[in-house]
Symmetry: C2
Subunit: 381 residues, 2 copies
Amino acid sequence: MAVENFVAYNPVKLHFGENVVKNLGKSVKQYGNRVLLIYGRGSVKKYGYYDEVVNQLKDAGLSIFEYSGIKPNPVVDDVRNAVAYGKENKVDVIVALGGGSVIDSAKIIGLGLASDVDPWDFMTWNVLPEKTMPLVTVLTLAATGTEMNAAAVLQNAETHQKVGLVHPMNFPKESFLDPRFTVTVPKDYTAYGIVDLIAHALEAFFGEGEPSVIDLITTDIIKDAMKWAPQLMNDPENLELRSNIMLDATLALNGLTSYGKVGGDWGVHGLGHELSYLYDLAHGATLSIAYPAWLRLQKERIPERIQRMGKLIFGTEDPDEAIKMLEEFFTSISSPVRLSEAGVESEKREEVINQMNVNNVSGMHHTLSMADRTMLIDLML
Amino acid sequence: MAVENFVAYNPVKLHFGENVVKNLGKSVKQYGNRVLLIYGRGSVKKYGYYDEVVNQLKDAGLSIFEYSGIKPNPVVDDVRNAVAYGKENKVDVIVALGGGSVIDSAKIIGLGLASDVDPWDFMTWNVLPEKTMPLVTVLTLAATGTEMNAAAVLQNAETHQKVGLVHPMNFPKESFLDPRFTVTVPKDYTAYGIVDLIAHALEAFFGEGEPSVIDLITTDIIKDAMKWAPQLMNDPENLELRSNIMLDATLALNGLTSYGKVGGDWGVHGLGHELSYLYDLAHGATLSIAYPAWLRLQKERIPERIQRMGKLIFGTEDPDEAIKMLEEFFTSISSPVRLSEAGVESEKREEVINQMNVNNVSGMHHTLSMADRTMLIDLML
């Protein structure tokens, strides 16, 4: 029940629901007139989302400068290029149309546009962010929660890193969550998004502090996602199901689940980032592999906490049963629970261990030793 | 499961936990140097909270101008006087030290200080708020949620009204929630605060829209408060229990419970405000009387919704049983469930009906006819 001291702050204005995008132009116009529009690799054009957004911006009389091609695991090179292009064109507001990779990139592009610093220096805390450019997001994937938080994750091929930066400068000004923009997400990425949101809630749950109401709320989010997920997998164009999952994803990482806590754990995410980096695996796929392994590693170290998780989510106090049920859920939505299911075979064992050790993968509350990392790999194979 | 369209926005920076007040001076100084310090009728002096706050402000080098004597059911006359006093002294930031009445008053004082308009004109929407003065709050009572929302309630003796204003200008900049500042709240007001937070969650629950995760979260806030309340009544100086209730109260009315909803109902609050106005009853006491009556009035009109409430909170789908359990909970913490228990006898029946009809008491989702109001009175007597 202990409520730890905390500071809560989240100034993002969230517009949620069918057709909210019709208010996009008016919102963006409050912040600037020369829009840097960021998006990914074309699916937003295929499904008409790009046209809706561009029409909104044009109807509001705004000038549009486009940077596209952001990759699913976004890289700092794109951020650097977008910053150069945005400066050249004297943009004064950013609109990000996409999922986590596009919005995360846009956050760091904002820092780059408002400074003369190489963007990677912000990611590594070499330089502290002092100002940014206003960012408005239009979300096309329910998963990372980036639309309502201060986090951004980027990869750097030169330094072999995938790292996250959490800073108040990263909050979007406004975010538009229109469930229509998610109905075309393919089944695999729909599932990975659901895994991601569940993993976010679990990272918070296993952080320091056990405020009782937040334990309930955090596991409510997981239970709700698990309730609708199987229906959504069978009925992917159902707007109500998409809405529920979209709301769950935002709630899972907008700060709420860390009220009364020192912070989350994030050891599983650290591990997941290494797997994504090494084998270009989808973020969600790495988490459905890593979380059951992490829980098995921890079950005798933090038995009460894992029992509480099991009781609140699955109605069982048997840790093995709870972990098995979590794993079965991931399997039921076709997200892998072993590395081999994701095409990574046991000969990669040493490579993974080495990458984890080089980047010192650990949790913030439950630290991981080198021996733990080896055990984790063996539990994932 | 339907998630209604909504906009979420809450820029309040919340500092929660033991001794957070040690950061107050630094926070206030960001917004101004001449502080209008608002408080109530002296209990903050008696228990040392006033000294802590004043020392913080002095240590930060700020000038302090005090307006005290805000009443438990706050009145517009105090707001007017504080505005005049603040203008005279050219204050540039407000610090409110107290519970809902003090903080609500401070919100409207802010509107008054930033304009030349009579404050009551904002309460009645005669004039739209356009700017305000920065407000930092230090909470001494877990109850209304005002520390993290945009609402303020005031009474006007001339117009015989107690009305609420919800407007984004009313958000405090920062709020300090130190559970130490609530341990001296007497048992009756501790109970009324708990009733208030439960009623806020119920008002949200009975608003339009049934987003499944928010139903879970809203009822979990209620369950959490019901879990700790009886222990707190027996152990009022227990900081951990105070912390849990304080967090529940903030969560119950900071916007979260209205995600995916058109808004709350607020019919019971409307009724409660009339009872407070007529008989100077504590707000929470009016709600523990009015809510069971309202549920009995509605149980055949919205049976599924009341069944869902009963199932999620009390584990029963029998509406009568659920309402009885709610009533028994209120009784267990010594909050009245009938008007007679609050000293209002049946000869007041016509007076209450008249007051409700004059001010057209109703809900926003479930409207109340004149006949309904009469039925409500009879259910409360």
